[in-house]
Symmetry: C3
Subunit: 345 residues, 3 copies
């Protein structure tokens, strides 16, 4: 890396194993979106929504999947988004996440186990018998309760709360304000009032999971709430007690999963999807944004609407509804004709 | 209680006044869910969804409402969930919530009144003229503003925020990250811009209320936002300014209630329900998950959908919609026949 | 202002340039809602929902737009809500937001720039190279990352988190628990797993913006997420990466806007509205509560439902659906008649 963080286009194309169509000597100072990029910046084209921006962009060069009909230097790659992401590391080297060490104003219980090169920031609390793996960062004001275990290379943002006994893997990212391990919403009813269920279970979050800001993951009543390896949950997602979320499943913002529901692997949910309790969602199902799911979902199914059913059916039903006025007109015509016929007969 | 926390099944049956069908001398070491329990553990059967697990469970004994056809010792009780909850106290004695005392790194204003055996944890703030009742816990990083009053035996989780003048009763539980008393969302419009309304009202939360993690309860413009005795609000619920929620009402996760709406007693809301402002929801109404409520709801009514109306009607309308294709086919058949008839005539 | 905070009604009417109908000498001690006001209090009438309360109110005087048929002193003004808001300042003078100064238990990096009369409360963190404008308040436990800039006269509530590089204008209000600048939800997929996108962009929040408790505003992948002047976002709103929200737009609680969507000026959204990514919503559009928006919205359009379309059409479709049973009956009648006719022929 040069001090000025400037690269020749040829170097960049090589770095992403792309096919260069244009001047290899072009100097590139940075990466920017199509609308913002200037003549010394590299941009990328990855979504047809951006086609109208192509004739106007001032970008010096473009990463793209297929040759575009514009007079701009281009680097052809398989997936422009993946390649741009790789090049961002050149222009914006990953900062050391935080200065290692325990801040003098952090509170770490003397019975806690702290790994090598851990960063614990100001006003963070690490409780009794907790353990924090090597190179993990505990943000300012974050709280780890009694017996919490966090693996290596994980990042807990400011004001994250992890309650007693929760177990987090390695390379886990929790964004600011997320809460893991609060008691689930479970009551028994007696004489019209609610008796609070004890929640003696825990939460297990496996490796490579990312959880968004102000999301909430409740602890199990008995046993465990489990978020499997590679799951990505966006901001303000809610996961109820005893839920299990399968590997590499993603949920967009503000989804809510009720107690004891089991979500399979590689499931994709749009934003604001809700699932009632005790369901099973099969692997690789797709739940369209705002779906309200009240029954099991088969593996690979695509569902939408409330109550969620096959997305194709939902679209067809909506189309039919739009033809209802025409159907009514046909019935009126039939009535008139029939009345005429009856007169004739 | 024995040191090993092991009990004979006969003891456990007696404790919950259950009818024992099996070996009273069986040693039980713990409580677990059907899928997880081993031969020295007690499990329970309380939901037909779990019937498929019965033939495979390795549980040593089961709490159940009716005798099950499996060769496992059983304890028959009226409500297995209630009974399991009672027995959890044996195996998992309630820990003293927190060490009593004010942490040396907490900030308690000298004009605040602190009751007996209160626990105020590290980095918590208790503002001027606030008062905290006996045996209440204020979690790490929690904030109590000026004049806030909290009753006895209440638990405020880590990073909870209670703003100036809010009043909380006894045995209130606020989970981590909940915010009580932020200004409501009220503006007057003048020349296309918004003038912020002063919010000089307050929030009153009565006894035995539980509020979930990252939930928000706004203060009133004038007067009070009121959460009555026994209300249970799940994670990420939002309650707007000047709302009143009646006794023993429950709202599942991510419900939102807009300003000045009055919700009756023993109302039950599924997750992600939304209510617009200035409504009245009658006692014991049921609002199905994801309902969008834009009009008053009668006492005892069951509503669903957007805009929410009688759940029975919604189901009927959906069934009718599915028969639309058939209706269209009947109309086409009529048209053909009529055309044939006309030819004959 | 008198010490007792009591005013003659004539004084109050003058203050809001209202037309007094009643006794100018009437002593008024406070302001209260219709249902709560007593004979020495001023109330207001601004919403027909409150008409049933008029005959019973004990208020000493009323602010109203048009003369009401009740025997109570009245002050006629153009907008009673605006006028009440002005008078609240008399009875509840705005407190000095907080004592100016940096709390001895706050953490302010030595490279941060702190303006005049700033208040930084206990356990707040202000990071390296951050700057805080004059008279701004940083609440207890709040966090400002590296290089964050906040303008003048802004208020950041307790436990607010502003991550590295975010830029906030003047007179900005962020309520407790809001998170600004967390990484957006962007991944590239490779071999069924997700590669995390670098988020090297930032968030810009312009002047006079208000953001609710526990809301989340994500940083851009490249470039900026922008919240323009005068925008008001209610509690638990989520704004994705690279979104732009136009001037004076308001969103009620729990709305979610997905990545790269552009929302125009003076747009109004009810609660729990969701928008997918890469949309354009035109100026002054109205999105009814719980709308699920999956396509662009024209300027001034009113949309509702899922998928959101013209609100008028949605209402018509719902009305048609209710007539379906009748249509079916008409078809059955036709079938019977036709069968009779066929017999005759």
């Amino acid at each position: 890396l040069t001090a000025s963080r400037s690269f020749r286009l040829g170097e960049l194309a090589e770095r992403v194993q792309g096919q260069l169509e244009g001047d290899a000597a072009l100097e590139i100072d940075g990466i920017a979106a199509l609308a913002d990029a200037g003549p010394r910046e590299l941009s990328f084209y990855a979504h047809e929504k951006y086609a109208p921006l192509l004739p106007q962009t001032r970008a010096g060069a473009l990463l793209t999947h297929e040759k575009l009909g514009v007079a701009i230097a281009q680097v052809l790659v398989q997936d422009p988004v993946v390649s741009i992401n790789e090049l961002l590391d050149l222009f914006h080297p990953r900062a050391p996440a935080a200065t290692a060490g325990i801040d003098r104003q952090a509170r770490v219980d003397e019975t806690a186990t702290i790994g090598r090169d851990v960063s614990i920031q100001a006003f963070a609390c690490v409780g009794p018998e907790a353990s924090v793996g090597a190179r993990t960062t505990i943000g300012a004001g974050a709280y780890l309760g009694r017996g919490v275990r966090v693996g290596e290379d994980s990042i807990l943002g400011p004001n994250v709360v992890i309650l007693d006994g929760s177990i987090l893997g390695s390379r886990v990212i929790l964004h600011a304000g997320a809460v893991v391990g609060a008691d689930g919403f479970g009551y028994a009813r007696r004489d019209g009032r609610f008796i609070r269920m004890r929640h003696v279970g825990t939460v297990v979050i496996e490796d490579d999971v990312e959880i968004g800001a102000n999301a909430t993951i409740d602890r199990a009543t008995l046993g465990r709430t489990v978020i499997r390896r590679g799951v990505k949950l966006d901001n303000q997602v809610h996961i109820g007690h005893n839920v299990e979320v399968g590997e590499d499943t993603v949920m967009a913002a503000q989804c809510g999963v009720s107690g004891s529901t089991v979500v399979g692997r590689r499931v994709m949910m749009g934003g604001q999807v809700g699932l009632v309790d005790h369901l099973v969602v099969g692997d690789e199902a797709k739940l369209v944004a705002q779906s309200g799911v009240i029954g099991d979902v088969a593996p690979g199914a695509i569902v939408s609407g409330y109550p969620a059913r096959a997305h194709r059916e939902v679209l067809r039903a909506q189309a039919e509804l739009r033809t209802l006025a025409r159907l009514r007109a046909r019935v009126s015509a039939l009535e008139r004709k029939l009345s005429g016929l009856a007169d004739e007969v």
